[in-house]
Symmetry: D2
Subunit: 311 residues, 4 copies
């Protein structure tokens, strides 16, 4: 393997300065507490990793520390579903922002079991159901995809998996409600087992900024040159990230960050800069909408200073 090219030093300097500036704002957020493993995380962790399409990466802080990616997995699960069955997918899950807290049952009941989009829990549960149909071993297939894209052996945190499964009453409510409308094709507990497995995946910021690169590169993994999605498929997944990827703060992110992003309650956020780079920022304390507080600040500042907004 050839030595990767060097990351542009002026850009690296800007990134380092942004990290210095936003890091203290994390104190105003709160780490997720619904499962013990997340509640026990050190709130002082901070990582920023930016991977250019030429393979060069600039990483700051704890960019090599594994963390619970949580909902960020939803992008990769959606990618897999688009690969195997795009048409049927969109009959069973919508593509509109939810306009409601991320785990709301109201809209799901009103819209007869069809989740608003695949970035909220209910939609990702439908995706998990679809993958059970289309993959011999859905859990292994997803881990393989994420390992390949990140260039690392990706695994799960067994303790998070156990906690998710034990405390997942609200996800059980969502899944049973969808089942009552006929929008799950496998037994509820089997689907949830797959979904909880996805939520328990551990990765580093460096791995994620690389893994997300295919969405910035018209669907082709920049590292391997292999096509993951068609160009239009990649654009569509990216569009869904922008309008739906950050719970009910999607409008706010578009407005102030201007990039397609997906966040997780573990404090990670990935962002796509079309034709340029993949970004991952990680800081566990969350704002009231469930997005990493300092992570969002970092993205705001770096898109402004580097003029990365897609608008």
């Amino acid at each position: 393997m050839a030595t990767p090219p060097e990351f542009p030093s002026e850009t690296a300097t800007v990134l380092d300065e942004v990290v210095e500036r936003v890091r203290p704002t994390a104190e105003r957020g709160e780490v997720a507490t619904y499962i013990p493993t997340l509640a026990g995380i050190d709130p002082g962790h901070f990582a920023l990793s930016v991977s250019a399409l030429d393979g060069s990466t600039h990483a700051c802080g704890d960019a090599d520390v594994l963390f619970s990616v949580q909902s960020i997995t939803k992008i990769f699960a959606l990618t897999l579903a688009v690969q195997v069955t795009e048409d049927h997918l969109w009959e069973r899950v919508g593509r509109e922002p939810s306009g409601d807290p991320f785990n709301s049952l109201v809209q799901l009941e009103h819209e007869r079991g069809i989740p608003r989009n695949p970035m909220i829990n209910s939609g990702a549960i439908v995706v998990a159901d679809i993958l059970l149909d289309k993959c011999d071993d859905a859990r292994a297939t997803l881990l393989e995809l994420m390992s390949e894209l990140s260039g690392a052996e990706v695994g799960i945190d067994e303790e998070v998996l156990r906690s998710e499964s034990e405390t997942g009453t609200r996800n059980r409510a969502l899944a049973n409600l969808m089942a009552s409308f006929g929008n799950l094709h496998h037994p509820v507990e089997q689907v949830l087992g797959n979904y909880f497995h996805q939520s328990s995946i551990m990765m580093t910021a460096r791995q994620l900024s690389r893994a997300i690169g295919f969405l910035a590169n018209d669907g082709v993994d920049p590292a391997s040159g292999k096509r993951v999605l068609s160009a239009s498929g990649a654009r569509r997944v990216t569009a869904v990230m922008l309008t739906c990827g950050t719970y009910d703060a999607a409008g706010e992110f578009a407005f102030s960050v201007g990039l397609p992003c997906k966040s997780g309650v573990g404090g990670g956020i990935v962002a796509v800069v079309p034709d340029q780079m993949g970004i991952c920022v990680w800081s566990p304390p969350l704002d009231h909408a469930g997005n990493s507080l300092a992570g969002r600040k970092a993205l705001e500042q770096l898109t402004t200073e580097l003029e990365l907004s897609i608008f």
Copy 2:
């Protein structure tokens, strides 16, 4: 045991005439179809049974045919809960009409897992949870109470129980949602097991019109003279029946029937005439609100002709 007194013959004549008149209207309704056992019921069944407080009963039609009482059990489960723990009960379930279809999750989410009242599914699931705490064997205790009040050995339909449990995704959604708000104290499946057991009870119209008599008699079972609830306790259960007992048609029933009623999707409806009698009518085809169509018509006509309205 002494011969029971005779039922007044003029009243009996009115009842027979009402039955003749309303029976054909059943054709405009639809039997419940969500479980096969209910879907397979003969829609032509019709029964009316009226039990005066002196022990006399007038029964018409299929008054000795067992049917699935379904939600009618909710009154007896509530009675048991009021007996054992009235105070804590009303902290965990409300007393207001739901204003929404009977199994809606919207209100439950909005009101943070506290069901509107114990006559809707979510509220009855909380009652089932409470009884698990307060009774050594909640299923047996409830069957004993209902057997004692009806003067018959009351049992369940195993096939209905199995079907309810297999198809109960919506009730699972309700229960898990309440569990996510901390309003269930036992494991979801254990609570649902008790709840589904309640819904599977079989009784006849004659048994039900007698069993409900204590609510018309200030809380004392007219047959045995034993106190079931305090006078005020009985009045409060009756008030909840009136405002909440017929899904989202409670206002309509108060308006057109004028009696506290509780209906079940098996097509049964019980009604209480304070200080006078207990009534049970059974006709499987339901109206759009889930209440027996001809049953409701019968109650409208007999309260009008016999001037039984409480208003």
Copy 3:
């Protein structure tokens, strides 16, 4: 005119004791503040008036002080509408409890401009629209009815009328929303003019306990012997009071008071004891649901002690 019979002295004693006991609880409530005239009311006012069907009345406290009856007028407006056009009435307004705060637009939008019942603002605005059609002078006709039933010249408070009209943005929102669904037949401002006029009526507790008597007397005004509504019409209006008369505390009132009641934000509550009496209690401080706090306590205690519950 013959001297009215004397009110039973033991009942009078019970009433006086109830008043003594509940009066201090008013301190825990808050007077309505949305218009200055109501906000400026002396919170220490308290009145209880009970009128038996034989014409005897027992009045305590400020029973001869005029107060703003506000929503209590809705009963008399509904009575007038039932007189003139019952059938069409129920196509344009429902009979179900609202299950939501009394001025909510949510349900109104969801149900396409058909208000839940005539006891909430939206429903009363539809009634005001209907009366414009059916009466030559809707305002005068309503005042005449209320004057006749109360045996006094009933008028309005011009200052309240002005305030209601100036601050009535929420009622304007309700009326315009219904107009957008085609459920108002006159110009919005004309309908609201009539509605605000109704809300500005002033009466005393003594007048109200008498005026409501026809609902306890099968539709016949006990004082004049004149029929106001058919017996079944009166029962139906009373049923609507029970299920819908106290905003979203109707279940609570049925449970704890056990009588059909209608309250107003001026602090008045009227209650009907079928075949026995009309009751009015007045104490301006309200509970969180918008009902007179001490008034409700008084009704709870007197129905318990005098065993007046309809259940």
Copy 4:
């Protein structure tokens, strides 16, 4: 004035072919019928105009026919509000997709009179209120801005204005509801007068594709070189267009078109291609979400063929 440069001929050919292909799909839509002037429009009109930042324009079909721009004006009104008072603006209107039909009151009530975003009617009414504060003559100032940007004298259709005002009960409901929460600072009818005036503006597709150019050009009007908004202000308005500009089909537009768009019920849609061009398409028949059916098809095809998506 110098001759404008020529529009690239290959691009022009693609545009012409797209128009040919999508034009017939208009038959599957329905023109807006809520006001007579819109209902009477010839559904066969079709226009596409594309203005590059160098001043060259390619126009097809009825690109010089005036039509009712309706909600498209919301972009220019928002631009004016951002110019004069950005900070206070975002305290009174949100930036999130609504997730509900465009004129829903539900969310507005739930969120206490703060509209979700300035692209829906309620949000635009707040903007109209703000402009009354900040401009001596809000109507004239807006017309001036739009005239300047389009290089034409922009005016209104008096008949549309009259119709809007007469039939605007739903907008009156929205405005009164916001007033009840204190989120309008001027009298409701004055604010609505300004809002209805905005909705009555007439423009051509050619004028609109040019007028929208400043949003593709970092806030600078490409024709005059004058700065209309700061670069970041322009990006933010464009972000709001993308997430909120097409009623509750914003996710769908992002997914299938991939450009920030704003539509009006007159059948017009404008789209911004950052750093490249402004687009306007016009075809009166609407899809179920209220967006021009053939207009949307045209945008889908031209972004695909010309690879204009921002993702």
